[in-house]
């Protein structure tokens, strides 16, 4: 056990400026370290942005590839995590546009997508929690832009300026997206909670 912990610690050091510098110059080990350290963050952010989609694996691979390709041009005018967040946003946007997921993201289709990706335990875990189902459904009613702005600001705590930069849009546009996104989300959440609670109670009866 000690050996395993030691190996894990040795192969997953904290990201320091030296590792980042070496990664930017194309050092393979440094790049691997950077990717390893941010792997969970990337995956989690993609899940937040697009939900539990069957295409998560492909999208994650695209983000990893874009990071490796973009590292040499990374300018430290924003934090590294923010830069990676911007890449996740871009990949999610491209993915949505390519597949017109937007039109598929009705409540029913969202449910189907969930069934495709989770194991039986995860499914039960989510479905047994009416509030989680409600949150997923409410997020599903937002447009990609609204959802992205909403998640970046409310979950990741980015400022409007940072969100605008990550989404490559104007601050005024971002503010509007946040405003309408929040409004739509909380309105949908109220409806979705009622529906989810009714379904959970009905299923339990």
């Amino acid at each position: 056990l000690v050996l395993v912990i030691f190996v894990r610690a040795a192969t997953h050091p904290a990201l320091d400026s030296d590792t980042l510098s070496r990664a930017r110059t194309g050092d393979k080990h440094a790049i691997s370290t950077v990717l390893e350290l941010h792997y969970e963050q990337i995956h989690r952010m993609l899940v937040h942005l697009v939900g539990r989609s069957p295409d998560l694996d492909d999208m994650r691979q695209q983000v990893l590839l874009a990071i490796v390709q973009g590292l040499p041009s990374f300018r430290a005018d924003s934090s590294f995590s923010t830069w990676i967040g911007g890449i996740c946003v871009n990949v999610a946007k491209t993915h949505y546009r390519a597949k017109r997921v937007r039109s598929e993201r009705t409540i029913d289709d969202g449910q189907a997508a969930i069934d495709d990706t989770r194991g039986p335990d995860a499914a039960a875990q989510i479905e047994s929690r009416a509030e989680l189902v409600a949150v997923e459904r409410a997020l599903g009613t937002l447009s990609l832009e609204q959802r992205t702005a909403f998640i970046l600001a409310n979950v990741y705590g980015h400022s409007v300026e940072e969100v605008a930069k990550m989404m490559k849009s104007a601050k005024s546009t971002t503010r509007l997206r946040l405003y309408y996104g929040r409004k739509k989300f909380y309105a949908a959440l109220g409806r979705a909670e009622t529906v989810a609670r009714r379904e959970t109670e009905g299923g339990g009866a």
Partner: protein, 400 residues
């Protein structure tokens, strides 16, 4: 807000990121591909510079050559199509876009590269105007070249070059063999059929791509021989088809008598790659979705169909190990990886399997395999392998 954050985290926890060997391999693939195809720095500046240069050149050409308002050149010929004759009736048609070099390339391709070299009596002549976008039905083998791309349309193939830069094509019926080299890194290729869209993604274009798109009895079939191709059916999700794989995994069941026969792989006969009857990507997705039983059935079906192909059997062995890993049967998984190493040592999958086995042995020393020995074995067998440096680093760490 904190409630929402917690709830979203719980939702994300229900769809965890891959771990262990799967994660490591994903990262290694990204590093290898990313370093092989670095992003072009200052692309925007260069785009402007190149755009301005092209515009200036066009203006000069208009002034010097004297192209009139109809877009016809000084001889008044306009865009033309090259008709290739064989003692009378045309045997092949190729859109030459009114450029002499294109006609020469078609001529060159047909005379020098055609399957039957004795047909050196082919004549190329300029025919009628044929704008880009015309639907062409090839009467015999038609070869087109555009930059770093080579396209071969078999007889009876109905196809269309949608854009002038040959980046977009349409296939209605028949068979197109396409080859894209990396000589032109900006190349992006898209072929649309009535039931699918096939894209060669330039981000994935490492070492070029060669594939055959067939449309038989209203069904599209894609065989990838080199590189990777993204296939998006009109009624389904996108799938990446790798070299040696076919999409869909099963060939069409119904073939109309009047249309072109299913692929016989007459193109590039010297460099044939065996076509696999299983889709590794689909099997991996099935495993990740928790349907390990289904995945095992697909693996067994693949084994029955490919008992004679060592490469296919090796890949199926790796998939079987991944299925065991998904069920946390670590010891079995390592055993299956090592089976691949032992039984199919000459395949590229053996290297991958040996390193994967070593990595898992590090993570799970209780599985009964010696990670150090496996890493040493890897370094000895593949001193210049794709994971050699990682193996050396891990070995050094273990020794400390």
């Amino acid at each position: 807000v904190s409630d929402l954050r917690d709830q979203l985290d719980e939702i994300a926890d229900a769809s965890p990121a891959p771990t262990g060997a799967v994660r490591d391999r994903e990262i290694q693939q990204a590093v290898t591909r990313g370093l092989a195809t670095p992003a072009r720095e200052g692309r925007r500046v260069w785009t402007w510079v190149v755009g301005a240069s092209v515009a200036a050149a066009a203006v000069i050409a208009l002034v010097v050559v004297g192209i009139d308002r109809d877009g016809r050149d000084g001889d008044g010929r306009g865009s033309q199509i090259a008709n290739v004759h064989d003692g009378g009736s045309p045997v092949a048609i190729a859109d030459a876009a009114g450029e002499a070099d294109r006609v020469a390339l078609v001529d060159d391709a047909l005379v020098n590269d055609a399957a039957d070299p004795s047909r050196d009596d082919l004549v190329v002549e300029r025919g009628n105007e044929a704008p880009v976008g015309a639907l062409v039905e090839a009467s015999e083998l038609t070869v087109l070249r555009a930059g770093a791309m080579r396209v071969e349309a078999k007889a009876k193939t109905k196809f269309q070059r949608v854009t002038r830069d040959a980046s977009k094509w349409r296939l209605d019926e028949g068979e197109l063999a396409m080859q894209v080299s990396t000589a032109q890194p900006e190349i992006a290729l898209e072929v649309t059929t009535p039931d699918a869209r096939i894209v060669v993604d330039k981000a994935r274009l490492v070492g070029g791509a060669r594939f055959v798109i067939g449309r038989y009895a209203s069904q599209t079939v894609v065989d990838v021989q080199v590189g990777e191709v993204l296939v998006t059916p009109t009624d389904g999700n996108a799938v990446i088809v790798h070299a040696g794989e076919r999409w869909p995994a099963e060939p069409p069941l119904v073939v109309d008598a009047g249309v072109v026969e299913p692929p016989k792989r007459s193109v590039d006969a010297g460099v044939r790659v065996p076509v696999l009857q299983f889709d590794a990507t689909i099997i991996r997705k099935t495993i990740r979705a928790g349907k390990v039983g289904d995945a095992r059935e697909m693996i067994e079906a693949g084994r029955s169909a490919h008992a004679s192909s060592r490469r296919a059997m090796a890949e199926l062995g790796i998939l079987a190990a991944e299925a065991d890993l998904a069920e946390r049967k670590t010891k079995n998984a390592i055993g299956k990886y090592l089976d691949v190493v032992r039984d199919y040592a000459a395949t590229p999958q053996a290297e991958q399997a040996l390193f994967a086995a070593a990595q898992i042995a590090i993570d799970r020393p209780d599985a009964g395999y010696k990670a150090e020995a496996l890493l040493k074995d890897y370094i000895d067998t593949y001193p210049k392998g794709q994971f050699a440096k990682d193996a050396a680093r891990l070995l050094e760490t273990l020794k400390k």
